[in-house]
Subunit: 199 residues, 2 copies
Amino acid sequence: MSKIITISREFGSGGRELGRCLAKKLGYAYYDKEIVREIAAKTKLSEDYVNSIVEKRPFSMFPIHTGSSFQTMTNPIDDQNQLIFREQCNILKQMADQSDCVIVGRCADYILSEREPLRIFVYADMDYKIKRCLGNQSETETLNSKEVKKKILSLDRQRAQYYMFFSGQKWGEKEFYDLCINMTNIEMDAAVASIAALI
Amino acid sequence: MSKIITISREFGSGGRELGRCLAKKLGYAYYDKEIVREIAAKTKLSEDYVNSIVEKRPFSMFPIHTGSSFQTMTNPIDDQNQLIFREQCNILKQMADQSDCVIVGRCADYILSEREPLRIFVYADMDYKIKRCLGNQSETETLNSKEVKKKILSLDRQRAQYYMFFSGQKWGEKEFYDLCINMTNIEMDAAVASIAALI
């Protein structure tokens, strides 16, 4: 059975970079945005649309009622989101079957739990994340510290809701991970070496 | 400045063993029960008494009032506990000055925070901890699973209260540690190698 490492990460903590470096060091396949691309191809939906759903927006939380009757109607948005999540499950399982791999985000730790992945959670202090995000901004992005902080909090809240909706588990709660690594005072190389030592 | 690794651990998770193995691998000094022995020597209190306080019993939480007056009286038990905590701080700082070291428990991560220790939290699933405790029982101990679980929960509750009292921080909350490692599915050798890779 192939070896799987799943990386869950706070936005701005460097989890994605850690995943990429780790895959390179171990010679594993690396899956991140590829997952969205595959889902879009399979569902015939646009990559942008899939991206706006995956890790961000779960189903609407309540059934829709019509008039005074309590008959539940199907919600077409929910149907589409369900389709996306089903495809996401299939694609992650196919990826895990193909070879040893590192998978970033997308509830992979939960979806692939039967294959006993090494489950990593990457986090950092808020100041560290803000500084890192500001340093990584492209020329067209002009967010200030306050706006970056708002973005970090908002994206992490969405990830937590999405994760809770599908897994019933609390995102970032250490009992659901094998290793939680705080990047605030740890160099990227050391973090990669530390995780690689567990394989 | 000497390198310091502090290990906080859930009871039964194997944190103490991990600390010992790590110190051996790195050639660092290892401090655990030595701390209690030193405090006892310095305060002229018995080791058993110091042991019953350190990591277990903080001060009484409220001042003592006499009659209808709200005048605060000194509580001799609190005085003694304060003395023990002061000695604990001094001794930990002396130990940290002497050489690179691994220190298990005793709020060392908080007390030595200015020296920027590598702060590790070791934890595990309850079933793992119960099994490990049962396996480590001496011939005179005859606790069953239920009793062991009760002991684990009680000791961890005491540690959390003690830590909160002195640090104002939540024991085991991942933001206060650099690395949190779940021993449930990780072998001792791999855990030691993983932490050593961060040095």
